[in-house]
């Protein structure tokens, strides 16, 4: 069953016991897009831009958006294995994998485990590893920090942040679902897997690590360190963007990603 939201098509994708909500857009080379702490707004401009030459497949993780979360499905281990199954369920032999923020963590984990189905990897302001010393958190604790600080550190221009007062009831309910689910999966250790750093060397797909220059949730220096752990990875900054370069600088973002995917 599919219904149209804006110009994007929302479908369901059955993976084992789980029915995922999936946003699909465009045609061309398949790109599996894993969202961050919030699901992807179907009206987002970067979707329009990327889908001119690619088929974007963006599922909502269980518990996020309108994807149900089975009982006891509440770890990143579950999510990683779910997306390994999703990769197997997609008709194309190879897909590009792109992860934003929390979804970047998932993408890195999947890329470590599944080398034969991924031909390109894009990590955008990704979580997932521990870089600094034990008394220096790499990733802002969004759950224990004041909402104003989180807002200020998320955006280059906080005026571009979604305004809850302008959202429908449904959108706000989804926002709250996303918030609860992110907390459930990412609370401890906070938004990283202590073991992942060691295994990033297994990634064989050409990798682009893309970072908003003004990101105050995870700083560009963390992105550079992340990139350095992935063989051959290229690191690029997007100016004028915080934690969400795909929203704040949609054109520059789509341009860099498009060129990388088409190479």
């Amino acid at each position: 069953m599919a219904h149209v939201t804006g110009s994007a098509v929302t479908e369901r994708l059955s993976v084992g016991e789980i029915e995922l909500e999936v946003l699909r857009r465009g045609s061309g080379r398949p790109v599996l897009l894993l969202h961050g702490l919030q699901t992807i707004d179907p009206r987002a401009r970067f979707l329009d831009l990327l889908s001119r030459s690619a088929e974007i497949i963006a599922p909502s993780h269980p518990g996020f958006g309108r994807s149900p979360r089975p009982a006891d499905f509440e770890t990143v281990y579950d999510l990683v294995h779910l997306y390994l199954e999703v990769l197997e369920a997609l008709p194309s032999e190879k897909v590009a994998l792109m992860g934003l923020s929390f979804g970047g963590w998932l993408a890195a984990e999947v890329a470590v485990k599944c080398r034969h189905r991924i031909d390109k990897l894009v990590l955008v302001d990704a979580f997932g590893i521990k870089v600094s010393d034990r008394e220096t958190p790499d990733i802002l604790d969004v759950f224990n920090t004041s909402p104003q600080d989180v807002l200020r550190r998320s955006w280059h221009d906080a005026g571009l942040a979604p305004d809850p007062n302008a959202m429908s009831d449904d959108e706000l309910v989804i926002r709250a679902r996303n918030w609860d689910a992110a907390c459930l999966y990412g609370w401890h250790p906070y938004m990283y897997n202590p073991q992942l750093k060691r295994w990033l060397r297994r990634i064989t797909a050409p990798t682009l690590v893309l970072w908003g220059a003004s990101d105050g949730i995870v700083k560009p220096s963390y992105g550079r360190a992340y990139s350095a752990l992935i063989p051959g990875a290229r690191f690029e900054l997007i100016e004028g963007a915080g934690h969400h370069p795909e929203i704040e600088q949609a054109d520059a973002f789509a341009d860099v990603v498009g060129r990388f995917l088409d190479r």
Binding site: F143, P164, D169, R175, L184, W187
Partner: protein, 400 residues
């Protein structure tokens, strides 16, 4: 009816300028504002008050809260241990170690069994779900807090009552492969267990488990509704009816010689509501799992949310918001402040008893804010001598 004296050991001695400037008096207020010498004096006074209760035959109750001006009792088991040794006759209720914050319930069971033995069987074990700023202070995931709560209770109960050598626990949240605590508790199979909750789902589970069900500052409607959920769940599960001994209520209580003195000094207790509840939005409104996603329009929009429907059971957060600006008159009218001379306090308690369909235990939040040691001891004496004997005449009854 039985009575339990409670003092959370609040720390009110932080300047109002600091309190006004901070977004939260819990979890994030730097502990440089807590002078350990002042804290030592406070503990000494409060423990002396507990010992006075012991002399006068009023039970005592120890709570736990973390990292804020509202309470210095982050380490509840230490106070329980002190009370187990220092008191000689009354019962001691721990309400309680915040078990969903603790990594190892078996260790909690060891602490409780030890306190039960030291007190020669005077311990009662209460459980509180915790929430809000406690999650940040203890690194505890707020989303599956209730699951951890029940699993921890199951494991503690088994650890206390199992006498046949090591057993293994491989639960969802806790694993402990070799559980065999020494000493085992004095009371068999384990000390009586209590649970504090106002929400209907948890209340139902408390009912099915036959725990003593305590409501804290909930007023008559919320309390009656929670007790009803408890009874209904038992009936639906085919379990025998319980008596009022299964129900408890905690309120601010102050007894003076006169009504004027009772109201004047007792109003100091409202400091707890006015000043110590201030909590930043990330520990309250926006705490993951704090309210169902369906409530998001009220949570996220900055326009003031519509009030809850009359008679609805409020969430703990909503309840807190309602309480921060309350006056003494309102608090008395709402059944959360019982103050006056001994006759008046007795009357207020029994009126509340009638409104909620009866309860067997009154917990007196009897010292808070800037109330002095002398004022506190005066109320303990008056309550124990003038009010408690009359309340003891109210025997447990079965209520449908």
């Amino acid at each position: 009816m039985d009575a339990w004296w409670q003092c959370e050991v609040p720390y009110p001695f932080v300047s109002q300028d600091v309190l006004n400037a901070t977004d939260s008096v819990r979890a994030s207020l730097p502990n440089r504002y807590c002078d350990p010498k002042v804290a030592a004096d406070l503990f000494e006074e409060v423990i002396d008050e507990f010992l006075l209760c012991d002399d006068l035959g009023m039970n005592v109750l120890a709570v736990e809260h973390h990292a804020g001006i509202n309470s210095l009792l982050g380490a509840n088991p230490l106070l329980v241990g002190i009370l187990a040794r220092q008191t000689r006759q009354v019962r001691i209720l721990s309400l309680g170690t915040l078990i969903s914050l603790r990594q190892d319930p078996v260790r909690v069971a060891e602490e409780y069994a030890t306190a039960d033995v030291i007190s020669r069987g005077r311990l009662e074990i209460g459980f509180v779900k915790s929430g809000g700023s406690e999650m940040a202070s203890n690194n505890a995931n707020p989303v599956n807090n209730v699951e951890r709560y029940w699993e921890a209770i199951d494991l503690i109960k088994k650890a206390l009552s199992h006498q046949d050598g090591p057993f293994s626990w491989e639960g969802k949240h806790f694993t402990h492969r070799h559980v065999n605590i020494w000493p085992r508790p004095w009371q068999q199979p384990h000390p009586r267990m209590w649970s504090a909750t106002g929400d209907p789902e948890t209340a139902a589970e408390v009912g099915r488990r036959g725990m003593v069900h305590v409501l804290v500052l909930r007023g008559p409607e919320g309390t009656k509704r929670a007790y009803a959920a408890h009874r209904k769940a038992r009936a639906e599960a085919g379990l025998p009816k319980v008596t009022t001994d299964n129900f408890a209520y905690a309120a601010f209580v102050y007894v003076g010689d006169t009504d004027e003195e009772g109201v004047r000094v007792g109003s100091k207790l409202l400091w707890f509501l006015h000043t110590s509840l201030k909590s930043a939005p990330q520990y309250s409104r926006f705490l993951p799992g704090n309210s169902p996603p369906q409530a998001a329009p009220q949570v996220y929009r900055t326009v003031s949310p519509a009030g809850a429907a009359p008679g609805a059971v409020l969430s703990a957060g909503q309840n807190a918001a309602r309480l921060t600006s309350i006056t003494a008159e309102q608090a008395m009218a709402q059944g959360i402040l019982f103050v006056g001379n001994p006759d008046s306090v007795y009357k207020q308690v029994t009126e509340f008893y009638d409104k909620v369909g009866g309860f067997g235990h009154l917990s007196l939040v009897g010292r808070s804010g800037f109330m002095t040691h002398a004022e506190s001891e005066k109320s303990i004496r008056l309550f124990s001598k003038e009010v408690l004997p009359r309340l003891r005449e109210i025997k447990p009854v079965t209520v449908d």
